[in-house]
């Protein structure tokens, strides 16, 4: 069989067979057949995970044909989407109904089932990860049974299955709680790192979606602040990115020229509009507005590897300082920024934000650079602050580590014993991280 690779290109496998089922019945039949034959089966989405979570030597199911919008309840703002639907397809499906997903990450290529199974998230302290938007799931379990779960139907299963790592069943349908379509006003600007870190909790509280990138070897942070607005309700003058004004140059903010201009303008008030205009151009804050999904998503063309840890929100400043010290002490040259985001606490068993308000720190390394020293040293720091790794990104943890991090891991595994008694969904990753 031909080789399958993930997005980064570094996780590869040769499935014994590949199938593209078009119906839930087909999925069920394939799982039943594999279970009877004592084999393994694994559904894959877009291959955006950086770990080996999607690899299989058994049968690979590609869910691309199980895709699209199944039902819409406009009143309840509930939509049901087929499991193989990619995130980037969803906005167009929801648009005719004036609905949108409440929050999204910055990558929109994943399948909806892959995104929720690995705990994919965006940023914003008022919002949870994508899995928290799920109201019901339809799973094909390890025995081929088709099982629905929600807060009222099989609630024990629902409590664990939203971040299910692909261990409990193949998600063929997802019911999402949507919100009315909205616009985002984005402000991006470089700022001194220290000030950003110091005001982190204020900014998280004051803004809908705040995140920043810290550039190693500098004391600069690129902040991104997104504010939600009603359709057509964007502040005056805010336009879509295609007409965006100049980006960013904060050197002049702290520069004497800029303060000299301010002093000068105090004496000649009639010049203020002109000077402000010029200063805005020089300092170049990138500011734009658009429909929500266009602002959430960004293009990633450079291939990298990523590690991301979920930390108690209050630990973020300390962890960043320790990362900085570690990079300097080891003489590492890091050519990707460190990304800092946040999310509300949730009640999903294996969600990285389970039962705690969470700050996320993601680190990256170019796909051609060995990430081992950087990632291992950073993980030591994350671990010391009770960090939980993103399930789809690099980490070096094993099951015993996870049982300390997730009190409900045992519960998850007992549900798995029922749903997948023959372990048809197992692979090396699940063997490593689950009990």
């Amino acid at each position: 069989m031909s080789e399958w690779r993930n997005w980064a290109g570094d996780q590869r496998c040769r499935p014994s067979a590949v199938n593209l089922p078009s119906t839930v019945g087909e999925v069920s039949a394939l799982v039943t057949a594999v279970a009877d034959g004592g084999g393994t089966i694994k559904a894959v989405g877009a291959g955006h995970s950086f770990t080996d979570i999607a690899l299989t030597r058994g049968m690979q199911l590609r869910l691309d044909r199980i895709s699209g919008l199944l039902t819409v309840d406009r009143e309840a703002k509930l939509v049901t989407i087929a499991g193989g639907t990619r995130l980037y397809e969803i906005p167009a499906l929801l648009a005719p109904y004036g609905l949108a997903m409440e929050n999204l990450g910055d990558i929109d290529h994943q399948s909806i089932s892959g995104a929720i199974s690995t705990g994919t998230h965006g940023t914003g302290l008022k919002y949870g990860g994508i899995a928290t938007q799920v109201r019901a799931l339809l799973l094909v379990t390890g025995t081929g049974e088709v099982k629905r779960c929600s807060a009222t139907e099989n609630p024990d299963l629902f409590a664990v299955a939203r971040v299910g790592l692909g261990a409990l069943g193949i998600i063929v349908e997802v019911t999402l709680a949507c919100v009315d379509a909205f616009m985002l006003h984005a402000v991006e600007q470089p700022e001194p790192l220290a000030a950003v870190v110091e005001s982190l909790s204020e900014r998280n509280a004051a803004h809908d979606h705040f995140e920043f990138y810290w550039f190693p070897h500098t004391q600069t942070a690129l902040t991104k602040t997104n504010t939600r607005y009603e359709p057509d309700g964007l502040p005056q003058g805010v336009k879509a990115l295609s007409l965006a004004s100049h980006l960013v140059d904060d050197t002049l903010l702290s520069n004497t020229l800029f303060s000299a201009l301010c002093n000068f303008s105090a004496k000649v008030p009639s010049l203020i509009p002109k000077i402000n205009n010029m200063a805005a151009k020089l300092t170049g804050n990138r500011e734009f507005g658009d429909v929500s999904h266009k602002v959430f998503a960004t293009q990633r063309t450079v291939r990298f590897r990523e590690m991301e840890y979920a930390l108690p929100l209050s630990q973020i400043p300390t962890v960043l300082a320790e990362l900085d010290t570690m990079i300097t002490r080891r003489g590492l040259q890091i050519s990707f920024p460190v990304e800092v985001r946040s999310a509300a606490a949730d009640d999903i068993a294996l969600s990285t934000a389970s039962r705690r308000e969470t700050g996320y720190i993601a680190i990256h390394q170019h796909v051609k650079t060995s990430p081992l020293e950087y990632f291992r040293a950073a993980e030591e720091i994350f671990r010391a602050h009770s960090g939980r790794p993103h399930w789809g990104k690099w980490h070096f943890l094993q099951s015993k580590d996870f049982s300390e991090l997730y009190p409900d891991l045992e519960k998850f595994c007992s549900v798995r014993d029922v749903l997948d008694p023959k372990r048809v969904f197992r692979n090396a990753y699940l063997d490593r991280v689950l009990l």
Binding site: P190, F215, H217, L247, D249, L282
Partner: protein, 437 residues
């Protein structure tokens, strides 16, 4: 000329330089006979010495490609011949009009020109922006948002054929500190960009300039030239041996520490900038520091030029000795005293801090020196020494110049010598009617 270069580059690569050095003074005798028919002033380029120097540079670069500094050559034909050698790639130009002229050369030999210095020439900038070929071939140097604003304003009324390629100049000078207090600035004053924070701010600013829907600029590279290492003799030869020895020890110490500092800082700044954009190249070093700079993993290519001609400035380097590839001749026109002659011209002075080390050195016939009170003059240069009596009016006195490039501003062409024979001539920029600075 190309072939001649090919044949001899291997010699430099294999490190057979000592043998060449010993026989170096013989070439002026040969040059004198080869150019007997020609009127002076004139300048010669010995192609075997040039090849040896080219090979030596490649060996010292240890595998990293060398971008050729055109200011040190100032002859299209010589540039073409050097660039045709594997291991040399790209031009480090000195002005935008020069870069446009090279980029438009019908030979297509100059497809990658980084202008090593910032540009403030509105006509040239507009010409660049509207020419798709030049846009693809020329990269401009920047180090401040003031320059970006100027360029954006200059280009406001037209739409560029493609984003203007930019290279960020990183200050590589050394500012040692003791207990947090700066002791001084060792190196040259070029760019205000020193830290990762400076560089990121500029890189982000570059990304933000737009013309309609398209980016106005694209950051493609970083350059960091360690002038205090590449351009400074570490074994000076002033004549006072004790002072020279002490100065040499101090200079070597400074260069060691400065190199360690820039290795660390450059790597960090490059990593920082790679946070926000993909870089095609990171240029470092110069003729004087190739073997040191090539060891910096963050550097992808080196720059060199003056080492090809081997002027007197390199006589005081401990790490390498280039062959004497270029010299010039001035005719004897007067005899003010029995032990003196005066030649026409001769004041082909190198730029930089005015001093004896910027003057040309009379090398043939041996035993002539400049007069301290007159030096090398604008139109005539008196020389004193025992050899004066052997010279007749019209005879040529041969000089070596101090610094590579400027010699070509005095002649229309370099007479090409090969094994003592005159085999042709290569036009200089001046010979093609071009004066860029």
């Amino acid at each position: 000329m190309l072939k001649l270069l090919d044949a001899a580059v291997a010699r430099g690569l294999s490190g057979e330089l000592a043998a060449v050095s010993g026989a170096q003074d013989a070439i002026w005798d040969e040059a004198d006979s080869a150019c007997a028919e020609l009127s002076a002033p004139l300048a010669v380029l010995d192609v075997q010495a040039l090849s040896t120097n080219a090979g030596s540079l490649l060996r010292r670069a240890a595998g990293k490609p060398i971008r050729v500094a055109s200011k040190s050559i100032r002859s299209k034909e010589v540039l073409r011949a050097v660039l045709a050698q594997p291991g040399f790639a790209g031009v480090l130009g000195f002005t935008l009009p020069e870069a446009l002229w090279l980029a438009a050369d019908p030979s297509d030999a100059f497809t990658d020109i980084v202008v090593g210095y910032p540009t403030a020439d509105p006509l040239a900038l507009r010409a660049l922006a509207t020419d798709p070929v030049a846009c693809a071939r020329v990269t401009l140097m920047v180090d401040s948002s003031e320059q970006l604003d100027w360029m954006a304003a200059t280009l406001a009324s037209l739409s560029p054929a493609s984003p203007i390629r930019l290279c960020l100049d990183l200050d590589a000078s050394w500012r040692p500190t003791v207990a947090g207090r700066a002791l001084g600035h060792i190196g040259v004053y070029r760019s205000p960009v020193r830290t990762g924070t400076d560089a990121i701010a500029l890189a982000l600013a570059i990304n933000g300039y737009r013309h309609g829907n398209t980016a106005l600029f694209r950051l493609t590279g970083i350059m960091a030239y360690e002038a205090q290492i590449a351009g400074l003799q570490d074994t000076p030869h002033s004549g006072n041996k004790v002072a020279d020895l002490a100065k040499s020890q101090l200079l070597k110490q400074i260069q060691r520490q400065s190199m360690a500092e820039i290795l660390h800082r450059r790597a960090n700044v490059v990593a920082a900038v790679r946070n926000v954009c993909d870089l095609e190249f990171v240029n470092g070093g110069g003729t004087g520091s190739l073997e040191l700079t090539t060891g910096d993993p963050s550097v992808t290519e080196l720059a060199a030029g003056s080492g090809l001609f081997g002027p007197t400035l390199f006589d005081g380097y401990s790490r390498f000795t280039p062959a004497h590839a270029v010299g010039f001749a001035a005719p004897v026109v007067r005899r003010p005293a029995p032990d003196m002659v005066t030649v026409l011209g001769g004041g082909w002075i190198a730029s930089g801090p005015a001093g004896n080390d910027r003057s040309p050195v009379a090398v043939h016939p041996a035993g002539l020196s400049l007069i301290a009170t007159e030096g090398a003059g604008e139109v005539q240069t008196p020389l004193r020494g025992t050899a004066a009596s052997t010279l007749a009016l019209g005879d040529k006195v041969w000089f070596r110049h101090a610094k590579s490039g400027e010699v070509c501003e005095h002649v229309d062409a370099l007479e090409i010598l090969d094994g003592g024979q005159r085999v042709g001539r290569a036009l200089t920029y001046r010979g093609e009617g071009k004066a860029f600075v």
